[in-house]
């Protein structure tokens, strides 16, 4: 350990505290304050109100929040399903195929979300797949963006898994489907939950591709926040952000509980 003395450890914590405070805690606290601010001219708001939060939890803003939740759930569920399937499938493929597929699946990480949005727009604006203007194009975009993470988490867990478990299960007379269902997937449960959490968090916050693609009836909360801030309704935007944070947190906690239970076994 490099920091042995009381003084050096104190300095280390101080540095951490300042960094954490300035970079993470302070902006979040400001958003929290702005969400309940009536007027704000000095260092702190002059008066407080719950009006913005009430606005953010009703009408268009509420509809937007529900859209985000649905998009997040569908995209993360699809990412876990497709990602897990892909991770399992590439392991039985020849090595060169595996390497190519692995690279392709990770490609969207390297591509800015705006590019994903534009390319989907170009690709799906013409028949036979004219998805442009429907909610489906938003869901597809979210899936493309979160899939690499959903796949990566499961793939990493599979790399660490002991192949002997599946082999022994097969030797005991279990056909591949049974081995998958009774041995491989239960052992992957913590990874599946982690994969879902990451996908959900990313999808709930996605704005770059969505803003290029969303139809009027499928506007996600981050896009609404963007629009509110753009119109100058900063306090409403802050309140919407608090709602977004709350919803994401609830989703992650739920998945975290599921993960804890899976890891216990």
């Amino acid at each position: 350990m490099l920091f042995r003395t009381r003084r050096s450890r104190f300095l280390l914590w101080l540095a951490f505290g300042v960094l954490f405070g300035v970079v993470i805690a302070a902006p979040l606290a400001m958003v929290g304050l702005a969400a309940v601010a009536g007027t704000w001219n000095g260092v702190l708001p002059a008066e407080y109100t719950a009006r913005h939060l009430a606005d953010a939890a009703s009408g268009d803003a509420l509809a937007s929040a529900l859209v985000s939740v649905q998009t997040g759930l569908v995209a993360s569920l699809a990412a876990v399903l497709v990602g897990t399937w892909a991770a399992l499938a590439v392991r039985s493929a020849p090595r060169p195929v595996r390497r190519v597929v692995d690279t392709l699946l990770h490609l969207p990480v390297a591509v800015p979300s705006v590019v994903v949005g534009l390319s989907l727009l170009v690709a799906f604006s013409q028949p036979p797949l004219a998805l442009n203007g429907t909610r489906w194009i938003v869901l597809v975009a979210h899936l493309v963006i979160v899939l690499p993470f959903g796949y990566g988490v499961v793939s990493g867990a599979l790399d660490r898994a002991d192949p002997a478990l599946a082999e022994v299960a097969a030797s005991l007379g279990a056909p591949p489907a049974l081995v998958l269902w009774r041995v491989r997937l239960p052992l992957l449960a913590p990874a599946l939950s982690a994969s879902a959490s990451l996908s959900l968090a990313l999808s709930m916050g996605e704005v770059g591709a969505t803003v290029m693609l969303y139809p009027p009836d499928w506007r996600t909360l981050p896009v609404s926040v963007f629009a509110q801030a753009d119109r100058g309704e900063v306090f409403l935007a802050a309140a919407s952000t608090v709602v977004l944070l709350g919803l994401t947190l609830v989703g992650l906690l739920t998945l975290g509980l599921a993960k804890g239970r899976a890891a216990e076994r």
Binding site: D162, A164, L165, E167, V168, A169, A170, S171, L172, G173, A174, P175, P176, L178, V179, R182, V183, P186, L187, R265
Partner: protein
């Protein structure tokens, strides 16, 4: 005569460009215990995996009870497999681990219960059925793994280095346990992969010695130990000294006379006929070497190691040939560095140099 329990015909296994197993021909009789013995990378585990169906032979056929199973997946072969790290399903209790194969066969619930109790009692783990694998010690996990493999009443039990993850005392205990199980299951053939000659000698009826993806030699345990045909077998099974000797006389069948450092001995040509004047290797087990203060062949004592039950001596014969000896006592021996006399008994196996690699 019924077909052998396991038969490998010219089985080769390739991993990419690496050849893991080369043209292996091997049979295991019904109820027979065969040890696959060799250093790591010798192909012994690969041979076992080919029998189990975990790897696909590049060429050759695998037969179980006379039936060609080369194209059958592992779950259609009905073999019991125990691997080095036990591979117990960590998310299942002991009883569910053992019941796994029975449930996969859709055995009725009551019969599953009965069979699980039966095999768990057989390995002395009946009191642990509700435990999870992580709550068991290494030896207990090993017992459960064996019970799980035996539950499906396999005609063949494949064991891949089953004791190598255990400490020395536990290894002895499990070895005795396996011997006892063998007695209880006279019809179950056993294929036992190990790099430990002690385990192979204790458990096996026959031993197949492997090296560099090839079968070097296969034969009944005592024959392989006392009459090895190759240098490799002589040194790997029983850690024999391989002394370079010159054949003085070779009457054909019967003992040959060989010369080493001026002394002559009679030796058994176990590696096939030798001709007078040829170079060969005399396999001398360390415990058969006698070390005295004088007389016999002159040698120098290089080092003494106490091994608890006895002493291991490193010697060098005049002429530079190294020699290991094991003696029960060093009383009366001169100190390290001094000159001693060494004698080697008649009747040691004589193998041709270079045979078997």
């Amino acid at each position: 005569m019924s077909a052998p329990a396991v038969e490998l015909r010219g089985v080769s296994v390739h991993f990419g460009r690496t050849v893991a197993l080369r043209e292996l021909d091997l049979t295991v009789g019904r109820g027979e215990a065969l040890a696959l013995l060799g250093p790591s990378g010798s192909g012994k585990s690969t041979a076992l995996k080919a029998v189990a169906g975990f790897v696909r032979p590049h060429t050759g056929r695998v037969l179980l009870s006379g039936e060609d199973v080369t194209d059958l997946p592992p779950h259609r072969r009905g073999l019991g497999v125990v691997v080095q790290n036990y591979a117990l399903f960590p998310h299942m209790r002991v009883a569910d681990n053992v019941a796994f194969g029975l449930r996969a066969r859709r055995m009725p619930r009551r019969q599953v219960e009965e069979r699980v109790s039966e095999v768990l009692s057989m390995v002395g783990m009946a009191d642990y059925r509700r435990r999870f694998p992580r709550e068991l010690s290494g030896g207990q996990q090993q017992r459960v793994a064996i019970a799980r493999a035996l539950a499906i009443r396999p005609p063949v039990l494949l064991l891949d280095e089953p004791l190598s993850a255990l400490d020395a005392a536990l290894r002895e205990e499990m070895l005795a346990e396996l011997l006892r199980l063998r007695g209880e299951l006279p019809d179950t053939a056993l294929v036992y992969v190990t790099h430990d000659q002690g385990e192979a000698l204790a458990l096996a009826d026959r031993i197949a010695v492997m090296r560099d993806a090839r079968l070097v030699e296969v034969g009944p345990t005592d024959q392989l130990y006392h009459r090895p045909r190759t240098e490799f077998t002589a040194s790997f099974l029983g850690a024999a000294n391989l002394l370079p000797v010159e054949v003085v006389a070779a009457p054909g069948d019967g003992p040959a006379t060989v010369r080493l450092a001026g002394a002559e001995f009679r030796a058994e040509p176990t590696g096939g006929p030798v001709a007078a004047g040829a170079r060969a290797a005399l396999g001398v087990r360390p415990h058969r070497v006698e070390v005295r203060t004088d007389g016999g062949m002159p040698a120098r004592l290089l080092a003494v190691q106490w091994r608890g039950t006895g002493f291991r001596l490193d010697l060098e014969l005049d002429g530079g040939t190294p020699l290991r000896a094991e003696v029960s006592s060093v009383d009366g021996l001169p100190p390290v560095g001094a000159r001693v006399g060494v004698s080697i008994p008649d009747g040691c196996p004589l193998v041709t140099t270079g045979a078997g690699g």
